[in-house]
Amino acid sequence: MRAGNGALAWLQEHCPSLDGQFLFLDPLWLDTHLLSEGAVLILREAAAAIDDGRLSAFEHEIADMGGWPPGLERLVRSLATLPVCAPVGTRGTA
């Protein structure tokens, strides 16, 4: 189960579409980037991989396809710094 916050949740909140273009707020450096729809699709896939703990495998897939599009790797690294908290009730008790 995916957590209630984390990389995908950040994208949901801080990467809105404005008439077909996207603004992304970098969660680490707090600077803002203007992104195309294609770039946002890759970011979403990367965010899902971060939240599921399989970022390394996703990076290998990206490398096999020729590497990151310009500028996106840094944004993915920023997303990877976000804490992922499990939803209430999913943690074990001592």
């Binding site: 801080h14 404005l18 008439d19 273009q21 603004l23 707020l25 600077d31 803002t32």
Partner: protein, 282 residues
């Protein structure tokens, strides 16, 4: 103590010439209780007492002197620039755009611009043409309501703008300070109605990024919503400081408005075009 609308600034000084300058440009603001809350408190004090051959005035705030002293006769420019700098540091309850803001029927026109683009001249000229003046320097956006709040300070006009605005029959300017670090400077006093309305917010409707260029034909270009949001962030004093609050405020503002870039060489033509744009889009 002056109530500017979105903020209060308290000032004290023993220097008589500075008091006279303040009286000229702030006389319609009224006096507030000096013991009341102020967002910024400053004192304008004599510079180093041993520099008798060249008397100076220094701005102090909270025990520090953030700027080099000015010549003693230039207290008002020092107070205005220093006060603006301090307000930009402190007013982090709001998103502060570097912009002129005017309104008609409580619908706001925002003029974000870099220094030297003619923002102050255009803001003052629109005000004298009938628009309510909210600010020349700070577009104060309340991130909760999405409204723009007045921050009514005198507008610092420089060089040729002093004559252009000063020739208007309703314009009231303070003294001219020749040869400051930004050239000749004089302060335009907003009309009394706008000062009286300094606690009345306005809803953002239209954004125009103005750029004056001598001899340029009027050219107005629509700006994509996302580009407008990016440029608003770049034209803000505290966008990054506010983090997600600033981001959300800018996105909301861009969605609620139409944005254009306006290059012009003739002030009257620019005003007529802005009137028409506002009638169409606001």
């Amino acid at each position: 103590m002056f109530d500017l609308g979105a903020a209060r600034i308290a000032v004290r000084s023993p220097i008589e010439s500075f008091h006279q300058q303040l009286d000229l440009v702030y006389r319609d603001y009224g006096e507030e209780d000096p013991a009341g809350f102020a967002d910024v408190r400053v004192a304008l004090l004599p510079g180093h007492p041993l520099r008798l051959w060249k008397r100076q005035i220094a701005l102090w705030s909270e025990g520090s002197r953030p700027f080099e002293p000015y010549p003693v006769g230039s207290g008002l420019p020092l107070f205005e620039w220093g006060g603006n700098w301090l307000l930009a540091q402190r007013l982090n309850a709001y998103l502060l755009l570097h912009a002129g803001v005017l309104a008609r029927n409580d619908r706001a026109l925002i003029l974000p611009a870099a220094p030297g683009s003619g923002k102050s001249t255009l803001t003052c000229a629109l005000h004298l043409a009938g628009w309510r003046f909210l600010s020349d320097e700070f577009g104060v956006l309340d991130p909760d309501s999405g409204d723009l709040l007045p921050l009514l300070k005198p507008a610092a006009l420089k060089n040729r703008s002093i004559g252009i605005i000063g020739q208007h029959p309703r314009a009231r300017l303070g003294p001219v300070f020749p040869g400051t670090r930004k050239g000749d400077v004089a302060h335009f006093v907003p009309l009394r109605d706008s000062i009286a309305d300094r606690h009345r917010p306005a809803r953002p409707r239209l954004i125009i990024f103005p750029r004056f260029r001598d001899g340029a034909a009027l050219c107005c270009t629509p700006i994509h919503t996302a580009d407008a949001a990016m440029r608003l962030g770049l034209n803000s004093f505290n966008y990054r400081t506010l983090g997600t609050v600033g981001f959300d405020a800018v996105v909301r503002l861009a969605r609620a408005t139409r944005a254009f870039e306006l290059e012009y060489g003739d002030l009257s033509a620019a005003i007529a075009h802005i009137d028409a744009l506002f009638a169409e889009h606001a």
